[in-house]
Subunit: 333 residues, 2 copies
């Protein structure tokens, strides 16, 4: 295992402290329990927006804590759900009196623990609502999931709902908006290589030198098909078509096209993937009104990519465009 770490046990603590030291203007890090909180939390009279999940997907979620996006993030161990205590502590830290919204990716542990945290928060008099993301069209049910997995849409949803909360939307409005984003977004991913969880010490799965896996999960969960390597054009076709037919997206639609790297794929390749995606969407008479290309929801050093399409309307576009200042996403300030 080749990693720039001090020991597998210290990965999360060391990284969180490093993150806090790099971004003291934006966030505060607590290591017991682990949470990353906006430096100016709680925002009086505004909805707090909390997400979390296993670590190893950086910059998601901690890199999205800041102005106009998340109020707090709860990082679990690598690929392991955070626990209700973390979520409750984060909830209290960001509660500004207008309630707290949880953004939960659909993995069994995350769902269960955020539900428990919501009950604990309610018992302390904090109003909590939740949004579940389940945008991965690759498979129904999976290694850690009943139903579909939550993946790339989570990033877009955190930006859009975070902007609404920043603008003073109510808890109910934030929840409705988040449900709309999840309903209008679809994703699918693929892997060229596996990745290694520090505490496991070896690859999460094996993939032959001439193989790739289409429909992979962000924890290396099995996808739809393992097949011989193909060209970028073929790979994008294999990812985009199931996404397009699932919603379905149709001629005349306007979308945000998000090409995400899994962590170990050079940016140059992500632009090649984006280029292929533009060809397919043009052919379908779908307009790309906004785009995002880069490493935002990763699987450690896995080589591969995912594609997310989000159907835009004026409301989603306005909140997407709103100023944001976090370690990983920043514009307008």
């Amino acid at each position: 295992m080749k990693k720039l770490i001090n020991s597998p046990e210290r990965v999360i603590d060391d990284a969180l402290v490093g993150m806090a030291r790099a971004h003291p203007d934006l966030l505060v890090v607590h290591t017991n329990p682990h949470m990353i909180v906006r430096a100016d939390a709680p925002m009086r009279g505004k909805v707090g927006v909390v997400s979390g999940g296993g670590s190893g997907h950086e910059p998601m979620h901690g890199g999205f804590v800041g102005k106009g996006m998340l109020s707090a993030a709860c990082p679990g161990a690598v690929f392991t759900s955070p626990v209700p205590d973390q979520m409750l502590a984060a909830t209290k830290a960001v509660d500004g009196g207008a309630g707290v919204l949880y953004i939960v990716k659909n993995y069994t542990g995350d769902v269960m623990n955020f539900e428990m945290a919501a009950e604990l928060a309610a018992a302390e008099g904090i109003e909590v609502a939740s949004i579940l993301t389940n945008d991965d069209v690759a498979v129904q049910d999976s290694l850690y999931t009943a139903g579909r997995r939550g993946v790339g849409v989570t990033v877009l949803l955190e930006k859009i709902v975070g902007a609404a909360a920043e603008a003073g939307a109510t808890l109910a409005e934030c929840q409705r908006l988040g449900e709309k984003v999840n309903a209008q977004g679809r994703s699918m991913g693929m892997a060229l290589t596996s990745c290694t969880v520090p505490q496991a010490g070896g690859p999460t799965f094996d993939l032959g030198e001439d193989e790739m896996e289409i429909g992979i999960g962000i924890h290396g969960e099995p996808g739809r098909i393992r097949m011989p390597l193909a060209s970028a054009a073929e790979v994008v076709e294999l990812l985009a078509m199931p996404i397009l037919t699932d919603l379905p997206f149709a001629a005349g639609d306007s979308v945000l096209a998000f090409v995400n790297g899994m962590g170990g794929t050079p940016l140059i390749e992500l632009y090649i993937v984006y280029n292929e995606l533009t060809r397919i969407l043009k052919d379908k008479q779908i307009t790309i009104a906004r785009n995002l290309v880069g490493n935002y929801i990763t699987s450690l050093e896995m080589a591969g990519c995912s594609i997310t399409l989000l159907k835009l309307d004026d409301e989603l576009t306005r909140f997407w465009d709103a100023p944001v200042h976090t370690p990983a996403l920043r514009w307008g300030m």
Copy 2:
């Protein structure tokens, strides 16, 4: 070779077109000869700032084209210098009447070709000045270099000089500023793994399963020492000490600390490296006034990192903080 490409021959063209389609508001891409130019070039009365070099280091340089940074970038084939024709075409495209500054990393091919381009531009009546970056303290002379290699400081220099050009500084002022940045910055890198140039098809060098290379170049050029894997704390010590003693940096100095990923290293590890760096600098009574953590000057999918320290003063800090809007660096707009 596992890459998301269509063919080794098409990598640069496909990626450049994808980049143009992702950022039409910022840049225009030409494929014959290859260049990435600010959408609003030439800026009348302002110095044009041009850089370039082999591809495979993305986002450098093309991802730094935009408002407040580069006016144009000339990408060569992967790890191969661009040619004078590209540089001349870029020079003409960005010449706004105030001259054009070349930012050149110290590699023999880049130096020679930018010199030739400067002569061609002069023959066409365009005033050109050049800055050479040679901040890598690892080795004197190298596989493609006489003297020291230009690495991480190049990113910081492009931001700082780009801000000065945007603010209306003269060609001579931009050149003086660039020389100051290069003089006040030092870098060193390391690799855990090699990388594969698409047209080569196999790893650039071999590194054992239990080995790392300290002082590596961004094209996989040999470093100072190949040694057994060590902890992040030890690795950072091995990189930071030669940097600190070379300038030298001293107690009371204020620096920009830049932890750069080589492409295949997860962000979580870069924050661990940053954390170790903060410990060392604190111990030396050096203040980190600004920082940058992420993948900015990469070597395809190489796992590893580099550290760059730049001694700051009010002038450099002001231009670093100035608004920038490029695909890879953005703030204040």
